[in-house]
């Protein structure tokens, strides 16, 4: 054991998914000798979510390919895995956690309970209406798509909705995608780039309806149609709702933690003495942006899981802020989309590689003389290069110069 690691007997991690598992792996890799308990309420061994809307949903992969915990990776980690068990309460001043209603003590706690899908009011119990977050969700939607050509309505053109639409098109199903914003992802990418993303769906035959909401999902017991706010009615056998997520913090009522759209942490991911949070459930002030944020991306769960785990073994003086440049990818049809940074819809945009027409390009975003983001469509190398510039805090002119040099 290294000198700088104060002796802690054990770490309890709640949420046995990406952030939680990577936290456990980090502790062991760093030489943490104590007991590590991983508690998760899903019955399944930890699995990866991105394929749930892609390869698994498409039927290209079977369930065994999405495991996050293959034997060769788990061997030697010596984890005390408690699957199918839910944390039901926490008391940070008493250092106790309730598992399935039974209180037990903890030394250090890492909260990685992620998020669940927002649902459309009034659709509870209506067959054929789905959200997509878990393995079981993905299998249910896949089975519905497999059972023949179905009229699919996707509500929400965010990344999950877009991927579901793309995968459903692959089954030959007629797909209508409904988006409340005038341009899909316009609020993130701005209208110019958002229009290109929209164009990819239209090229692939999706009936894209923007600027309209859903007034009602109709059907007796099983969905039959969706009534939109412009009065039109779209017939549907299968509805997939992708309208965002809610952090899983209900079990933290009365815990002593501050919960406000996620578990509020300090810059170092500490939520209370001996308690940290990571992944989709964590909200923290990212000093790079001077902004309190919650990031719902795969890479963030990995990095923050590792950071929050190490934080538990460090003193306040040793602890470092968590200041990543957010990054994610999304696969739609044959396009790989990636975004790094924090663009705003009214940032300046410059295409630095390829072109919108080819649907193969990298575009950089800038504001106040600074580079703020890079978006790429089938341009992974370029996205990573500009992500490097973002991490260095490059100026807008530096980024443009870099682009010049690449030609």
């Amino acid at each position: 054991m290294s000198d700088e690691m104060p002796v802690r007997d054990s770490v309890t991690i709640v949420g046995a998914s990406l952030a939680g598992l990577r936290a456990a792996e980090t502790l062991r890799r760093d030489g943490f000798p104590g007991r590590i308990t991983l508690i998760g309420d899903e019955p399944h061994a930890p699995y990866d979510r991105p394929p749930l809307s892609k390869q698994l949903l498409a039927g290209d992969w079977e369930v065994d390919r999405i495991s996050l915990s293959p034997t060769e990776r788990m061997s030697g980690l010596d984890l005390d895995m408690r699957l199918g068990q839910r944390a039901t309460a926490l008391d940070v001043s008493a250092h106790t956690i309730d598992i399935e209603g039974v209180a037990e003590g903890y030394d250090c706690l890492l909260i990685a309970t992620g998020a669940r899908c927002r649902t459309l009011p009034g659709t509870e119990g209506l067959a054929g209406v789905h959200t997509l977050r878990t393995l079981d969700d993905s299998i249910a939607i896949r089975d519905a798509l497999r059972s023949g050509p179905r009229r699919v309505v996707v509500v929400g053109a965010g990344f999950i909705g877009a991927e579901v639409a793309a995968t459903a098109v692959g089954y030959g199903a007629p797909v209508t995608m409904v988006e409340a914003l005038p341009v899909p992802m316009g609020r993130v990418l701005g209208d110019t780039v958002g229009d290109v993303v929209a164009g990819v769906h239209v090229d692939n035959g999706v009936d894209l309806r923007c600027g309209v909401g859903v007034d009602e999902v109709c059907g007796a017991g099983r969905v039959e149609s969706v009534r939109l706010s412009d009065g039109t009615v779209v017939e549907a056998d299968l509805v997939v709702v992708g309208i965002g997520v809610i952090p899983n913090t209900d079990w933290l009522d009365g815990s002593g933690l501050t919960v406000d759209d996620g578990v509020l942490c300090d810059e170092t991911c500490l939520a209370a003495p001996d308690v940290t949070a990571a992944g989709d459930v964590a909200r923290w002030p990212n000093p790079r942006y001077g902004e309190v944020m919650r990031v719902e991306h795969w890479d963030n769960a990995v990095e923050q899981g590792a950071h929050a785990a190490r934080r538990l073994t460090l003193s306040d003086e040793e602890a470092e802020p968590f200041s990543p440049v957010p990054w994610f990818w999304s696969d739609q049809y044959d396009r790989k989309v990636q975004l790094a940074g924090r663009p705003r819809p009214d940032d300046e945009v410059s295409v630095v590689d390829g072109s919108f027409e080819e649907r193969r390009f990298a575009a950089i975003y800038g504001r106040d003389g600074r580079l703020t983001a890079v978006f790429g469509m089938n341009r992974p190398r370029q996205v990573m290069q500009y992500k490097g510039l973002l991490e260095r805090g490059a100026s807008w002119s530096e980024a443009l110069e870099f682009a010049e040099d690449q030609i």
Partner: protein
Amino acid sequence: MRVVIDYDLCESNAICMQIAPDVFEVRDDDFLYVLNETPGEDRRASLDEAVQRCPKQAIRVED
């Protein structure tokens, strides 16, 4: 130390290239190239990070 890529899984998103540019390179043909298949022990921390952060779990490091 030996770097092994499962090219059936790799989707060339270049995360590994950002972490260890001396070992990984995604070129303009959008394929990943391993520049150094047997990096020295001093690169272990970076390679471990690349293994962790590869979204496709496509990288293995063999001793």
